[in-house]
């Protein structure tokens, strides 16, 4: 579709009665939630939030610190985080309360942490995951409200959504992620010239036409379908917003360096070296997506709950190993299963380091981010879901204190979700349901 630029004004107000607005939106796109201008003007940059998930937990006695508080001791499996220890909190001894719901192995833990609710049946998340709540607050002004990524492939591998059939499916390849963020539609904030793409204006009007049908459908729809329609229109609004951003000249961002294109021929499978490479490539892209302010919320899945990671030549997966490998009596753990955990911690450190490498003024991107890492079991061999390992990295622009081991002393894990939402500015004072409903934030880390 070719558009004559000089006549693009004709599009403005097109289908006027239908409420189409193709007029360029205000520059407030580039203000953060509090209306504070961004880095280019010397003011604080936005705060980002994201999650980093890994499946199959840890060997608890080799991972969790012994003493709560700052300067926590690093056990062998946590030792790799040493270079970033002052920026990382470790959260232990928080419990998942199921209130009689079954513990669905490798399934119950993740959703409980993310929604504050026990899963009663294995059909999607039991409620809205709190990363979505946060992105509803801080993700509305960027091109993408959030970016979901799975380094092990499988678009269904996600813990982000509004519950039930609403799941934010994951990008599964580095090339796909590159194309989505830096392909067509990306405007380099540091480019001297800016030309709004008339095609984008046309697409914008298409979406307005779609939005117009809402009323007709709403009149006849029942509650369950209305919810689905609401979700559909939320996605429409997000896409409209994305196009509005693309039609606006972005503010320069010194940290933004447009990455090079990624090969589309890379394999995607569970083989650990493949996953490590894909994770690294996707991390680099995600970091630039944040630095270039294309999104402020992300969800990275390193592997899946019942991890299908493998090593070339091995007959068993990471998941099988955690159950079937005998505990080595001398070592006191399962060496082959633990090999995968070593790689996972290596990947997490890469992720944190990649965020920390990017300078934003006198801070780093990591400093302006809260990255929340968690697993779905404590000790996979026995499917335990109390004391699931969790960490945060970065202070979110000083919103939380860092370098602390927080001992939850058996309190509900929903305290973590509550605290992180509050840190990100979500107006919520109680969160979670049944035994996991809580108003007790983590005073130890809230600044």
């Amino acid at each position: 579709m070719r558009f004559d630029l000089s006549r693009r004004t004709a599009l403005r107000g097109m289908i006027n009665g239908a409420g189409v607005a193709v007029a360029l939106p205000l520059l407030d796109v580039f203000l953060d939630g509090n209306g504070v201008a961004m880095a280019a003007t010397g003011a604080p940059v936005p705060v980002r939030f994201g999650t980093w998930f890994w499946g199959l937990g840890v060997n608890p006695s080799r991972w969790f610190p012994t003493t709560a508080g700052p300067n926590y001791d690093l056990k062998p499996e946590l030792a790799p985080i040493k270079p970033f220890q002052s920026k990382i909190n470790v959260l232990g001894n928080f419990n998942v309360m199921l209130d009689g719901a079954p513990n669905l192995p490798h399934v119950s833990g993740g959703p409980a942490i993310r929604t504050g609710r026990a899963l009663t049946a294995d059909r999607g998340l039991p409620g809205e995951s709190f990363d979505v709540t946060i992105s509803d607050l801080i993700g509305k002004r960027t091109r993408f409200s959030s970016l979901e990524v799975s380094a092990i492939g499988d678009a269904r591998n996600s813990l982000s959504g509004r519950g039930g059939g609403d799941l934010n499916s994951s990008e599964t390849t580095p090339a796909g992620l590159y194309q989505r963020v830096f392909g067509t539609g990306f405007k380099d904030p540091n480019s001297a010239s800016f030309t709004p793409d008339p095609q984008v204006m046309a697409r914008r009007s298409v979406l307005s036409a779609v939005a117009d049908q809402r009323q007709a459908l709403n009149q006849a729809v029942g509650a369950a379908d209305r919810q689905k329609l609401d979700q559909y229109y939320t996605s429409v609004r997000q896409l409209e917003n994305q196009l509005d951003v693309e039609l606006t000249k972005p503010q320069p961002l010194e940290a933004c360096l447009v990455p090079r294109k990624v090969s589309a021929d890379l394999p995607v499978n569970g083989e650990i070296e493949t996953v490590m490479l894909n994770h690294q490539l996707m991390t680099d892209l995600l970091v630039m997506a944040l630095a270039c302010d294309q999104t402020r919320v992300f969800n990275m899945m390193f592997n899946n709950g019942a991890s299908s990671l493998t090593r070339i030549g091995s007959t068993v997966t990471h998941h099988q190993l955690t159950h079937e490998e005998v505990l080595d009596n001398k070592l006191g753990y399962q060496p082959e299963a633990t090999y995968f955990l070593t790689k996972i911690m290596e990947a997490w450190v890469y992720f944190v380091g990649a965020l920390d490498k990017v300078k934003e003024g006198d801070r780093t991107l990591l400093d302006n981010t809260i990255a929340f890492a968690h697993s779905e079991t404590e000790f996979a061999k026995f499917h335990t879901i109390d004391n699931i390992p969790m960490m945060t990295a970065g202070s979110g622009g000083g919103r939380i204190k860092t370098g602390i081991y927080v001992d939850g002393q058996g309190t509900p894990v929903s305290r973590v979700g509550l605290t992180l939402q509050q840190a990100m500015g979500v107006p919520v004072d109680r969160w979670g349901s049944k035994s996991m409903e809580t108003n007790k934030r983590l005073g130890e880390i809230l600044a």
């Binding site: 558009f3 996605s235 079937e324």
Partner: protein
């Protein structure tokens, strides 16, 4: 399969061409007059939306191919519809939302499709008139173009309001694009991202004959027939029948359904049903260790599900066979790539050829095929537990509980231990542990009979040097090997009742758990029909209950726990 789809699509295009011609003649009629049936209903018996089922990837692709022809490429990724545990993806489609990423993908596909449809090569097929000026808007010609396309895409005539909106949009965009076609392109893009296209919207009205029950209206019936039997969007014949009110008449509906199961396109429907029932999405992420399984490669991976589907279609559709033969037949289809895995000679260097296993070969039925054996294995070895569970859950509709959360697996031995070379010996630990025994007694004795097939379904007689014992049992029946298992399955009443129950679930997009009597009755008819899959689907398609919706109890929306959303 491809060639048959192609043919039928072409037939449909022929049908739509004549329909287009018809529309030109009736252009003087008020735009969207066909839609008044929906628009003018009085509030009391006003149709209400009773279901919105998201199109699956296959349904989307089939719809585009049928409406616009197979040379319109659908390029892009689809947000998957998530399968609820123990249910069909069809049931999941009822709950599936469209996330921002999903909509971005649909939007990008829509623009791509619309650009092809109105390019120089294709637009002649779809624009039944000559605009007054190719560079300018022409509302009459846009109406003539968009009304019939909209009718196919939304599976009902556009309402007046909708048609006016799309035509106006095409007109307004024609200016800036400097092209009449450019305007149409934009309007078509809008239709393709509309919830009316992306969701199969089912509407129903109170049924005077059955208080408390809503009856699906004609257009919803057309869609249900079409997606159930052909896995695609209703064609002109069905839409015309709906317009004439013929689908609320049981006799006329039955006549149409009979024609549909007799059509070559029924194959596409049967493929889609089994793809859903047998969890073929597992092939999407199938990976096998290249060191352990040198016979596995991408070609083999692609051929595996196709081999199963060809076997199914050949037995059940082409030969009109008994459903139970799926578990006993020695007939199948081969490609060169599969020949290596099966160790059988394949003459053709490309494509498929029929193959019959020798009498006595353990490759009996679909359970002896590499696809089934591979997706119910681990990446590096076979899994009697996964295979047994699949047989129970998918083929017999007997859900097996998950392992307990606090399970202690120390009983299971190390695979490298020479003292426990075979899966049978390793798994015996489960059965001797009280916590595990309950479930593993259900799954393992079934799956162990398939142990002579490794993690990709290649034949073997030993594991780690020790001979494999292929004996198995299902409840109290003892048997040996895949052939033995197939025979037992074919004889079990649960097997055919499960198929009947799944067919009903598939059509209605909801589990049949609460409809035991209905399933039993359907199963009896299935038996009376000689377990013919055509007859089963015809029964389902003509079942009054298939078109009835219980008025749903008041449902509350999702409980929002965050104040940010209130």
């Amino acid at each position: 399969m491809k060639s048959i789809r192609r043919l039928s699509s072409l037939a449909l295009i022929c049908a739509s061409a004549s329909l287009l011609a018809g529309t030109v003649a009736s252009l003087t009629a008020p735009a969207g007059a066909q839609g008044t049936a929906v628009a003018s209903a009085s509030p009391i018996d006003a149709p209400q939306i009773v279901a919105m089922r998201r199109l699956t990837e296959a349904q989307y692709r089939n719809a585009i191919a049928d409406i616009f022809g197979p040379d319109i490429k659908v390029a892009g990724r689809f947000e998957p519809v998530v399968r609820p545990v123990h249910e069909l993806i069809a049931s999941g489609s009822r709950e599936a939302a469209i996330s921002p990423l999903g909509l971005e993908q649909f939007d990008s596909m829509a623009r791509n499709i619309a650009a092809q449809v109105f390019d120089e090569k294709h637009s002649g097929q779809f624009i039944p008139c000559h605009p007054q000026d190719n560079a300018k808007a022409d509302d009459a010609c846009a109406t003539a173009t968009l009304a019939p396309l909209g009718r196919y895409l939304f599976r009902r005539p556009l309402t007046t309001q909708e048609l006016v909106l799309y035509v106006k949009m095409a007109g307004l965009a024609a200016g800036p694009t400097g092209s009449f076609n450019g305007g149409l392109e934009l309007a078509l893009s809008a239709m393709l991202v509309s919830p009316n296209f992306l969701y199969i919207v089912e509407t129903a009205q109170p049924d005077p004959a059955h208080p408390g029950v809503l009856a699906l209206d004609n257009y919803s019936r057309a869609a249900r027939l079409s997606f159930t039997l052909w896995n695609s969007t209703p064609n002109a014949v069905l839409l015309d029948a709906a317009a004439a009110g013929r689908l609320t008449d049981p006799a006329q509906l039955a006549e149409i359904a009979r024609g549909m199961v007799a059509s070559p396109r029924f194959e596409q429907g049967v493929r889609a049903f089994f793809t859903d029932m047998l969890l073929f999405e597992r092939f999407d992420n199938l990976s096998k260790d290249p060191v352990l399984f040198p016979y596995y490669n991408a070609q083999v991976g692609q051929a595996m599900p196709e081999q199963m589907l060809r076997t199914i279609v050949d037995e059940l559709v082409t030969r009109g066979g008994d459903y139970r033969q799926l578990f006993t037949t020695n007939r199948t289809w081969m490609t060169r790539a599969l020949g290596g895995l099966y160790q059988v000679p394949v003459h053709k260097s490309a494509g498929w050829e029929p193959y019959t296993f020798a009498p006595g070969d353990d490759r009996a039925g679909i359970l002896g095929q590499a696809g089934f054996l591979a997706i119910y294995s681990q990446t590096g070895r076979s899994s009697p537990t996964l295979r047994g569970r699949a047989v129970r859950e998918l083929l017999m509709c007997q859900p097996v509980p998950n392992p307990p959360g606090n399970v202690n697996f120390t009983a299971v031995q190390d695979t490298k231990n020479k003292a426990v070379p075979t899966a049978r010996i390793r798994l015996s630990a489960h059965v001797t542990d009280d916590n595990c025994a309950g479930c593993h007694k259900l799954t393992d004795p079934v799956g162990l009979s398939l142990e002579r097939f490794d993690g990709i379904g290649s034949w073997r007689t030993t594991e780690n040097g020790a001979p494999i014992d292929p004996s198995g049992n299902l409840d109290k029946t003892v048997f040996s090997g895949a052939a033995g298992l197939g025979k037992v399955l074919a004889e079990s009443p649960d097997t055919h009742q499960c198929a009947a129950s799944r067919a009903l679930e598939y059509a209605r997009a909801m589990p049949s758990d609460d409809d035991g009597d209905l399933v039993e009755a359907l199963d009896k008819q299935f038996a009376a029909d000689g377990y013919s899959i055509k007859a089963l689907f015809l029964r389902v398609a003509t079942l009054p209950e298939n078109y009835q919706v219980k008025i749903p109890a008041l449902q509350t929306g999702a409980t929002r726990v965050s104040m940010a959303n209130q």
